[in-house]
């Protein structure tokens, strides 16, 4: 049998800037000339991208293409890695998020994050959701906190399932429930943007469908950027899709365009499965 290596034809195509429509008029977040370095190694090359208000933007691309790294630029999660250096301009509502006066704690309250592996704290469901609110002092008394926890769980579509078990450990839930708990935890702080780093990669199709449905509802109030390895998921949930390749942003277009008639040859090769 013939084997196909990942260094097929697709890798020899040159990338000259981003094709498609990386910029929007109603940008919630935006990056200009974004470079990211890990020590001396450059991981991301000159990314220019806007994320529109109330849109779900999907970031796809092969492993190691820099999509997760870029996502972490947007709430300064990369700050926790000492050797990581981020350059370029990054804005949230036209504020520079890498400015000296921007407090990363405040930024992360405004730009929440949901991770690949469901990572509830080993505390009760209630404490998990209340964590951020307690951290930032969002509730002045117990009943306010109760309401906030309940509202967040309702928004995350988890309340019905756990309303009698709020004091049980969050780690005892199923994978899909855990991930929705993490989403509830993130939205309890009432962020403006939610970053999702492969939120369903560890979940079964039904749990995945629930979370995708949830994302669609959340879009009314939040701006969502999702990194995903599942192209079908990107196609299902997002309005715009950004294709990353070897640290570069190759193409950004409306999702239906990307999946029926992508502009760039590399995007075409990736989404049709011509290299992995």
């Amino acid at each position: 049998m013939k084997t196909n290596t990942t260094t097929g034809d697709g890798f020899n195509i040159e990338i000259n800037g981003t094709v498609g429509t990386p910029f929007t008029d109603n940008a919630k977040m935006g990056s200009r000339n974004c470079d990211v370095f890990y020590a001396d190694k450059q991981a991301i090359f000159d990314i220019n991208l806007d994320i529109g208000k109330h849109e779900i933007i999907a970031m796809i691309g092969p492993s190691g293409c820099g999509k997760s790294t870029y996502l972490r630029v947007l709430n300064r999660m990369n700050d926790t890695i000492p050797i990581c250096r981020v350059t370029g301009e990054h804005t949230l509502d036209d504020e520079d998020i890498y400015a000296k006066k921007m407090d990363p704690v405040l930024l992360r309250a405004r730009v929440g994050m949901v991770f690949q592996k469901p990572n509830p704290f080993p505390k009760s469901i209630y404490d998990n959701v209340a964590y951020g609110a307690r951290l930032h002092g969002l509730a002045s008394n117990r009943s306010e906190l109760d309401d906030l926890v309940e509202a967040s769980l309702i928004k995350a579509g988890l309340f019905k399932e756990v309303k009698d078990d709020l004091q049980k450990s969050g780690t005892g839930l199923s994978g899909g429930q855990q991930q929705r708990l993490c989403i509830a935890r993130a939205i309890a702080v009432d962020p403006e943007v939610i970053l999702m780093d492969e939120p369903t990669s560890a979940l079964d199709p039904i749990a995945t469908a629930l979370i995708e449905e949830l994302m669609d509802e959340l879009r009314q109030n939040y701006t969502i950027a999702i990194v995903t390895h599942s192209m079908q998921q990107a196609a299902r949930v997002s309005q715009r899709t950004a294709y990353f390749h070897m640290g570069k942003l190759v193409e950004v277009n409306a999702t239906d365009k990307v999946f029926t008639n992508p502009e760039h040859q590399l995007t075409e090769n990736y989404i049709t499965g011509r290299f992995g």
């Binding site: 697709g10 999946f259 029926t260 008639n261 049709t272 499965g273 011509r274």
Partner: protein, 238 residues
């Protein structure tokens, strides 16, 4: 359009199978149309009979390819060019099946015409129209086989020519019918054949449109030809 191979060899093979089946179906349809025209022009009743009844293979292929397309959509979830290929194929085979029907119709009427004394002076017009229709069919299938969108767009212009020929032929038939009402029956049969030839031209144009969609991802149906040219080939002077 030049694409690398899929990582999945079987996926490659499945798409390739579909494509080659479509080409095979195209070949059958082309042969049917050619034979029908031959039977019409040469008044060959036997050939006409063959054409009239040989539609089954084409129909069977249509069903088979349809199933293959459904399989690929269900199992492979094709995207981008693959999705367009599957979708275009689905439409092309519908057109091919109709083309086969039209060829069979020509066969059916040719059989009847072969036994009758036909209106003289129609042979030239008919053969001209047939030539146009057959060459358009051939070229459009060729464009599909080569995924040649430029050629396909060029072919779009030929539809007008066929329409003009068909209209001219119709006028002559009307004259004949008015001259001698006994001609009406045969004139109508000839008219039906001409109509089928016109349809063959139209369906071939459809195939060309599908080729453009398949290659460029652009739906050019119901669009002005000049607009299409300007949008698809802005740099070329066609």
């Amino acid at each position: 359009m030049e694409l690398g191979e899929h990582i999945s060899q079987r996926y490659n093979q499945e798409l390739e199978d579909i494509r080659s089946k479509v080409l095979k179906m195209g070949g059958l349809v082309e042969a049917q149309a050619e034979n029908g025209v031959k039977a019409l022009l040469q008044r060959d009743a036997e050939l006409a009979e063959n054409v009239a009844t040989a539609d089954d293979k084409i129909n069977a292929l249509e069903v088979e390819i349809d199933e293959d397309c459904v399989q690929v959509i269900a199992l492979r979830q094709p995207t981008a060019s693959d999705l367009r290929l599957v979708f275009a194929v689905g439409k092309v085979i519908t057109d091919l099946e109709r083309l086969g029907d039209e060829a069979a119709k020509i066969g059916k009427y040719s059989k009847k015409l072969a036994k009758k004394k036909t209106i003289t002076g129609m042979h030239a017009e008919l053969s001209h129209l047939s030539e146009l229709a057959l060459s358009l069919l051939h070229d459009s299938l060729d464009a599909f086989a080569r995924l040649d969108d430029e050629r396909a767009v060029q072919l779009l212009a030929k539809n007008d020519k066929i329409n003009r020929e068909f209209n001219a032929l119709s006028r002559i038939l009307i004259t004949h019918m008015m001259e001698n009402p006994r001609n009406i029956k045969n004139a109508l049969r000839i008219s039906w054949c001409a109509r089928s030839l016109e349809r063959i031209g139209r369906y071939s144009i459809n195939i060309c449109e599908h080729v453009v969609y398949l290659v460029k991802g652009k739906d050019i149906r119901h669009t002005d030809l000049d607009e299409v040219l300007a949008e698809l080939f802005p740099d070329d002077d066609l």
